[in-house]
């Protein structure tokens, strides 16, 4: 018993020690469990922040699309901070943008109208990126062309590389200074610059001027639909008089179906089978679903519609009427009239105006692989069509349209009508255009009706020629209600007016010069004109383009 007492006496405190050990072990377990919870919490936090960053990046893309459709953009230059974030700034480089910004990256090297939009976002250290590709498509009637109801080239236009469209006639005062065709151009392989007119092309002066040309090609035929060598042998292959004005597919079918049972002749409309090299053109197979036209006698024929007067087509009611057009009626051949020469309205089977490349099927088998040096179905060997450009509401845009930020919106009023705008847009005090590539300008000019007050535009930018990158030229959009005069002007963008366009001195423009469809309007160049075509990066503005998203990509964080 004494030994037990001694033993117990010497183990005094053992219970406490045991309890403490157990508590310590249990504490380790609790710490481990807490660590596990913290890890899970951390994972959940990462996932949450990652999702939030992705949502912000997607919102940036949506904001970019909205801005694009409101104000346009210059690919490779335009950038903005995502409105859902704060404190973000653009890096100055769209190829390496900052986080929480949206950059309109440079256009693809082989397609100036397709460009990526990259949106980067970071939430609590978690980065996400979304990139889309956007295709800009010209609104029907607009293009990177010089377009005017009548065009008169008085000066030197030999440096011109872009296409020229005239809804009516086109005159070269000096044949030797007209745009020369590309050396590789052939009648079946059309290459810019092309000179196209709805009625005739004429020239004067020395150097083999073929004179007034009113037919497209051989045998004096007016039903030929693709350029072939004219009998005179002197017309350059890039000249195409009597080029059709494009019709919507439904409207073309309506005319083709309606005319046989009605008096289309009283409307000035004639329909004939198109030819090439004086051979009637047919198309196989005969029947399509849906059928192109109900008039069975024309099945298998490629048709050509011409007119000497304006007319209206209502494809819903399937009728053709005399203007003014009512209801859903569409107005065609607006610049023609009883005193005007015959105009070609359209040709072919029914094909949507935006997919004219399929016109190759009219002349080549669908299986051809190297047709006219093109592939897989050859190049369009039909003539290009001249669209009727739609009229823009210049005054409607004067106080409401902003160009992409950063950019400048300006309003210049010389009409005395008292119209003013809040700032922005700024009130321009002169005709000096100041927009640059980094900050393009949208200039609206209110100078009254065509034929009245003339605004002379000069620029501060510089470019050396069509091969220049135009980075130092003036960039933007100019719209006017009346006549404008380009004086020693270097410009990258679009010029649109309801009136006439004149030019003096050395004018270098890449983009579009567009005079609306009033038959009295003209583009008259007196000095040296370099109108540049090609695959150029231009300010992509919603007034001239529709935008379509063509791809979407969820980029991993850090991989732009």
């Amino acid at each position: 018993m004494a030994a037990i007492r001694r033993a117990i006496g010497s183990e005094r405190g053992t219970a406490l020690v045991t309890a403490l050990i157990m508590l310590t072990v249990m504490g380790f377990f609790l710490i481990g469990f807490q660590g596990l919870n913290n890890t899970e919490l951390s994972f959940a936090g990462y996932a949450r922040n990652n999702t939030l960053a992705f949502n912000v990046a997607e919102a940036g893309i949506q904001e970019g699309i909205k801005r694009l459709n409101m104000s346009g953009a210059v690919p490779g230059s335009t950038c903005f901070a995502n409105s859902l974030t704060s404190g973000a700034t653009c890096s100055g480089s769209t190829s390496n943008p900052n986080t929480n910004t949206v950059a309109f990256q440079a256009a693809m090297s082989n397609n100036a109208n397709m460009f990526p939009v990259l949106s980067l976002a970071t939430t609590n250290g978690e980065a996400r990126a979304v990139r889309i590709f956007v295709q800009a498509v010209f609104k029907s009637g607009f293009n990177t062309v010089m377009f005017g109801p009548q065009i008169n080239f008085q000066g030197d236009t030999s440096p011109t590389t872009g296409d020229t469209y005239s809804a009516s006639g086109l005159t070269f005062q000096t044949y030797g200074k007209s745009p020369a065709p590309d050396p590789s151009a052939t009648a079946m392989n059309l290459i810019s610059p092309q000179v196209m007119a709805g009625t005739f092309i004429t020239c004067h002066g020395m150097g083999g001027c073929p004179g007034n040309i009113t037919v497209e090609c051989s045998s004096g035929s007016e039903t030929e639909v693709a350029p072939t060598n004219c009998p005179r042998g002197a017309a350059p292959v890039n000249w195409h008089p009597q080029t059709p004005v494009g019709m919507a597919a439904a409207d073309f079918a309506t005319v083709a179906n309606w005319c046989p049972g009605h008096s289309c002749g009283t409307l000035g409309i004639t329909i004939s089978q198109a030819t090439q090299n004086s051979t009637n053109l047919t198309y196989t197979p005969v029947s399509y679903t849906p059928s192109y036209w109900s008039h069975g006698g024309w099945n298998n024929e490629v048709l050509l519609i011409a007119t000497t007067a304006p007319f209206c087509v209502d494809s819903t009611l399937q009728v053709v009427t005399v203007p003014p057009c009512v209801g859903a009626g569409v107005y065609y051949a607006g610049t023609a009239g009883p005193t005007q020469p015959q105009r070609f309205v359209d040709w072919g089977l029914v094909s949507d105006d935006q997919s004219r490349a399929t016109s190759t099927l009219f002349f080549q088998p669908s299986t051809c692989s190297t047709c006219n040096n093109g592939s897989p179905n050859g190049k369009p060997n039909g003539i290009r069509y001249i669209p009727l450009i739609p009229a823009l509401n210049v005054l409607g845009m004067a106080c409401t349209v902003n160009i992409a930020s950063p950019g400048v919106s300006a309003f210049y009023n010389t009409s005395g009508d008292g119209l003013t705008c809040p700032n922005p847009p700024i009130q321009a005090g002169s005709g000096t255009f100041t927009g640059t590539k980094a900050a393009p300008e949208f200039l609206a000019i209110d100078n009254g009706p065509p034929g009245g007050s003339q605004v002379t535009l000069s620029s501060s930018g510089s470019a050396t020629g069509c091969s220049d990158n135009f980075n130092n030229a003036n960039w933007g959009v100019i719209v006017a209600t009346g006549d404008i005069n380009l004086q020693n002007f270097t410009f990258n963008g679009y010029i649109y007016t309801d009136g006439n366009v004149y030019s003096h001195g050395h004018v270098l423009v890449r983009g579009g010069i567009l005079s609306s469809q009033s038959s009295q309007d003209q583009i008259d160049t007196l000095g040296t004109l370099q109108f540049c075509g090609g695959n150029a990066v231009l300010p992509l503005v919603p007034q001239f383009y529709n935008f379509t998203q063509v791809s979407w990509e969820d980029r991993p964080g850090g991989q732009q």
Partner: protein
């Protein structure tokens, strides 16, 4: 110290130890329960995230397409329990400012197809299997590189026991563009007597259609 005192100490210590061990065992079980729950959640979350990411980037859904490379053959179908998409071709694209990006080749022509990959997700009974099994537990991602003519089969998660893909209350078809993905993840920890199950649901839309 008397025997009585010793007995009291022993009793008190037994009660304390019993309480402590009970707590310890509860903690131990909670640990495994938490561990299983974590694994299930991670599996379900990864499964849904991976599928959503691919479906978002898909151009369209496909079904009835069989791709065979060597001895590996995968059926790309679209149903209640399997989704198959066509992904855009990815390329190194040069931009007009000289920079290049790795992105869907939106302008692909000629020999490079715009379609780049067929990608499918399905459940399988065994690791990296090409034979679907609607009760899992393996979620398989199989992809076919159209340009390189190669097939890659890999596990995404190992505890997915059900996959339900529906649009408007019906199973998805190749006409579906927006649909609901419902993933069920389950797991039992052998020897510990604990199990966990979660159901995660999300909607997804094809963005490249």
């Amino acid at each position: 110290m008397t025997i009585l005192e010793l007995m009291v100490v022993m009793i008190i210590l037994s009660i304390a130890l019993d309480a402590m061990f009970s707590l310890l065992l509860a903690s131990y079980k909670a640990y495994w329960k938490g561990d299983v729950a974590t694994q299930v959640q991670q599996g379900g979350r990864i499964a849904l995230t991976r599928m959503i990411r691919d479906v978002r980037a898909g151009r369209r859904l496909v079904t009835g397409v069989t791709r065979t490379v060597g001895s590996t053959s995968v059926n790309f179908n679209t149903s209640c329990t399997q989704v198959s998409t066509v992904q855009p071709h990815l390329g190194n694209i040069t931009l007009s400012d000289g920079s290049s990006i790795y992105a869907p080749d939106a302008n692909a022509t000629g020999t490079i197809p715009y379609d780049g990959y067929d990608v499918t997700y399905y459940l399988a009974a065994t690791n990296n299997s090409t034979t679907p099994n609607t009760s899992g537990p393996y979620l398989i991602r199989a992809s076919y590189d159209i340009v390189a003519n190669t097939i890659t089969v890999s596990n995404v998660a190992a505890n997915i026991t059900s996959l339900n893909l529906s649009s408007g209350g019906s199973c998805i078809t190749t006409a579906s563009r927006e649909f609901t993905m419902l993933v069920t993840a389950s797991q039992t920890q052998t020897g510990q007597g604990v199990s966990s199950q979660i159901v995660i649901k999300d909607d997804v839309t094809l963005r490249n259609q």
